[in-house]
């Protein structure tokens, strides 16, 4: 009786899964980076997949292949057809669980990427915590270029974003598919970094990254693509992008150069706290901002005193208020609700008429080692 019960249990177990589900790592085409473009004329999608080459990445001596990744590109009219198409060109099983990020061409982003969001979200094997970039350079150039320091471009980009991530609230850089999904119903835009290729010709051979100049023919983050309802509506410069994240309580750090007594002072604002409150509901919104300041560089030719520090704090406060007001004005001019007024109790129709005031306070917490600068008499 016991043996028969055990037999039934084991048979049921065997039905659940088994050797037929095997996917040995030797048989996988591990995709590290995907790129999507859309041909505006034909409406066809151009998909690029960068597949990692383990032998090329191995540090063991004797490995013949030098290329860390290989890029496969496919063209079809629907996202769902690419998986099947990969089987015709890749000798291994298409494996996207280790996909690091997606790059979307600017022209496709401006048309709207709702279809791509739905495609990613539909299947549990596709992860929606993938980060997205928008490319303002030709996608085929970016997807066919090797990167310095990290030879896998997917990891290169992920590392770039991780570098920023630590200053975001909860250590989350909100540029993932799931962030776009969350913001679909909201009026506050999502700002996705724009990736730019510094060159004309793709660095498509691994030898080309042997050059010492890493900026030329390399990738950089520049500006931000403003997405409203999964469609790119415009661009934000780097300063405005950071301020946008700060005012929406997502980011906590800012580096600014201010002029005090006619000299430059570089300060870093840390642990920035933002509190928004309605002075008059729907018509007057106030932002109270507080930051801890650290002096990075002080070009003043005078001794650092308490009064002087107060001057620096006051200059920073004034400068940040001015920048926030400028952002608010731009937001109203362009019709992008960058301050999230509508999503935080503002009126949908009259949010542009909402009066917004900024009040910045700051405390100098770190001044550096010397209070008196070296001077030549």
């Amino acid at each position: 009786m016991k043996a028969s019960r055990l037999g039934v249990v084991l048979t049921l177990l065997a039905l659940c899964t088994g050797c037929w589900d095997i996917k040995d790592i030797n048989t996988l085409a591990i995709v590290s980076l995907a790129g999507v473009d859309k041909d505006p004329k034909s409406g066809d999608f151009l998909a690029y997949y960068q597949v990692m080459n383990p032998t090329g990445l191995s540090t063991r001596t004797g490995s013949s292949a030098k290329a860390a990744v290989y890029t496969f590109n496919f063209k079809d009219f629907s996202h769902g057809r690419f998986t099947e198409k990969t089987g015709r060109a890749m000798p291994r099983l298409f494996f996207t669980a280790h996909l690091q990020s997606y790059i979307i061409s600017e022209r496709y982003a401006r048309e709207g990427i709702l279809d791509l969001i739905n495609y990613v979200e539909l299947n549990p094997e596709r992860r929606s915590n993938l980060i997205i970039f928008v490319s303002d350079s030709p996608l085929d150039v970016i997807m066919n270029s090797f990167t310095p320091l990290d030879r896998v471009p997917g990891r290169f980009m992920r590392s770039l974003s991780n570098h920023y991530q630590r200053n975001f609230r909860m250590n989350i850089y909100p540029i993932r598919f799931k962030d776009l999904e969350k913001d679909l119903k909201r009026q506050t835009p999502t700002v996705i970094p724009i990736i730019h290729y510094n060159g004309v010709k793709a660095a498509s051979k691994s030898d080309e990254i042997e050059k010492i100049n890493a900026t030329q023919n390399g990738l950089t983050f520049a500006e931000g693509a403003v997405f409203i309802h999964a469609r790119m509506v415009g661009r934000l410069d780097d300063k405005s992008k950071v301020l946008f994240y700060i005012l929406n309580k997502k980011y906590r750090r800012l580096t600014e150069t201010i002029t005090v007594n006619g000299s430059y002072v570089d300060v870093e604002a840390q642990n920035i706290q933002v509190q928004r409150k309605w002075i008059a509901p729907g018509s007057h919104l106030s932002f109270d901002i507080h930051a801890d300041l650290r002096i990075i560089n002080n070009q003043q030719k005078r001794k650092m005193t308490l009064q002087n520090l107060q001057q620096i704090e006051a200059s920073f406060n004034k400068m940040l208020e001015a920048k926030a007001e400028a952002l608010e004005q731009m937001s109203k001019d362009k019709g992008w609700d960058l301050l999230g007024i509508q999503d935080h109790g503002g009126n949908e129709d009259s949010w542009r008429q909402t009066k917004v005031t900024f009040h910045v306070t700051s405390t100098m917490t770190t001044t550096g080692n010397t209070s008196t600068p070296y001077l030549l008499e």
């Binding site: 899964t17 050797c19 790592i25 030797n26 996988l28 383990p54 032998t55 191995s58």
Partner: protein
């Protein structure tokens, strides 16, 4: 005379059987019977033959030969017997039988030859700090080693003779005011129910008395350390000692007791606790590492961090076998090497380690037969296997390890989880002499954690084990 004939009929064919007949007087003859290979002839000459032959016969000798003989030979080693079977048994134990021609006087005198090795340090349970004495093959000396440490009137040795042919002496040992009556009775019942012709080692007894023969987990702990046995007795456990082996069996035991080493009690509490946790961790490593490697590499590569996946993929690029076979080849090779190392003469042991290092190491990787990561997995597993303070438990680890590997190879993590649940269900349903094997986790006995999952300082161990009150 009849009894002498009976004995000679049974044992007379043996070349070492000796039967001397002394005609002390026309009316009094004395048979002196012994087995020369197991007795000390010097003792026989000195304490039996010499006093008898040198003593003048008097009226008392003729009238009452038994009391006459008893007055001649040392009292302490002399005993009377009645039946021929009893006499044969004593002969086989190394005693000399003295039987008068009339058959009235039947005495046995112990002159057994002591062919025993001296007390030495136990090789299987070495410790840095603690006593260096280990049991030997002579049960009487083992009893002495226990008595030396435990001078209690409550220490009980119950003798049983088991094995129809070997007639092995087995001692059921316990402290009567600490051990639970029902556990002692259960031990006694099981020992008495053994029907075997031979008991050559304690493992014979273990197989007969353990609760579940088909479980990979040992349900009795074995030790050859007298200090360990005394500690177990003081905890209320029962010990079975077998003549002819230095190994004593201790029961009932729980799963977590196999992670305890006698040395835990000879060093600081914090270090002992850390060592215990290290042993738990090593146990988990040994049963899970090869299985997890197989499952992750074959079925769930998405679980690996990207850089580790690439590194493993690069290593496995030229390996011709699936991960399961790769692991199985390496593990089986290691088991063969280990088995060979155990059986081979010590002088040839070096060659085994050289071949082993080559086969399981660099050469296998260079030949592209296995990946370097697999060598690390096997090494880690092998080392973890040896962390267990109990050899029997180490064997259980190896069985589970292979079972988990097969399940992981067939069904990935799902199979491994099924295996884990099977093992857990088995562990909680297992008993050792009525004691639940997974105590104190299931059933939960928080107070017992002090000396299972942890080893709290001695002054915090205030509770004694169950103590019988009848001796109060």
């Amino acid at each position: 005379m009849l009894i002498v004939h009976q004995i000679m009929e049974r044992l007379g064919h043996s070349p070492d059987f000796v039967c001397h007949e002394f005609a002390l007087s026309p009316d009094l003859g004395l048979f002196c019977i012994y087995i020369s290979s197991i007795v000390s002839t010097e003792h026989a000459n000195e304490f039996i033959f010499k006093p008898i032959l040198e003593q003048n016969l008097d009226a008392r000798a003729l009238h009452d030969p038994k009391s006459w003989l008893e007055s001649l030979i040392p009292k302490a080693q002399t005993d009377a017997f009645k039946e021929a079977t009893e006499g044969i048994q004593r002969l086989l134990e190394g005693q000399c039988l003295l039987i008068s021609s009339s058959g009235d006087c039947r005495l046995s005198y112990d002159i057994a030859k002591g062919q025993n090795r001296s007390v030495s340090e136990p090789t299987t349970e070495a410790s840095i700090r603690g006593p260096r004495e280990g049991f030997v093959e002579d049960i009487a000396r083992n009893v002495a080693l226990i008595r030396k440490r435990l001078k209690s009137e409550h220490l009980i040795f119950e003798q049983l003779i088991i094995g129809t042919e070997t007639k092995t002496k087995v001692y059921l040992t316990y402290i009567d005011n600490i051990a639970q009556v029902k556990v002692v009775e259960e031990f006694r019942r099981r020992l008495n129910s053994i029907h075997a012709d031979s008991i050559l080692e304690s493992s014979y007894i273990e197989e007969w008395i353990q609760d579940n023969t088909w479980s990979p987990f040992p349900q009795l702990l074995f030790t050859e350390r007298p200090d360990s046995v005394v500690a177990k007795l003081m905890e209320g456990q029962v010990v079975v000692m077998t003549d002819g082996t230095p190994i004593a069996l201790v029961g009932p035991v729980t799963f977590f007791q196999f992670f305890n080493s006698p040395e835990d009690y000879y060093q600081r509490a914090d270090i002992a606790t850390l060592s215990r946790w290290l042993r738990f961790f090593a146990f988990l490593l040994s049963i899970f590492v090869p299985a997890l490697y197989i499952a992750v590499v074959s079925y769930h590569p998405e679980l690996l961090p990207n850089s580790l996946l690439i590194s493993l993929a690069a290593q496995r690029e030229e390996v011709p076998f699936p991960a399961f076979f790769e692991a199985a080849i390496m593990m089986v090779t290691f088991e063969i090497l280990r088995e060979a190392g155990l059986r081979m003469p010590r002088i040839a042991g070096q060659s085994i380690s050289i071949v082993g290092a080559l086969v399981l190491g660099e050469a296998a990787v260079e030949a592209g037969l296995v990946s370097a990561a697999m060598v690390i997995v096997v090494s880690l597993t092998a080392i973890s296997n040896f962390v267990s303070p109990n050899y029997g438990f180490g064997i259980a680890q190896r069985i589970i390890q292979f079972a988990f590997m097969i399940l992981a190879g067939l069904m990935g993590l799902f199979g491994l989880m099924c295996g884990v649940f099977f093992v857990l269900i088995h562990l909680v349903s297992l008993r050792s002499f009525g004691v639940k094997y997974f105590t104190p986790l299931a059933p939960l006995v928080l107070s017992a954690w002090r000396d299972t999952l942890f080893r709290v300082p001695r002054y915090k161990m205030k509770r004694f084990p169950h103590r019988r009150m009848q001796n109060k």
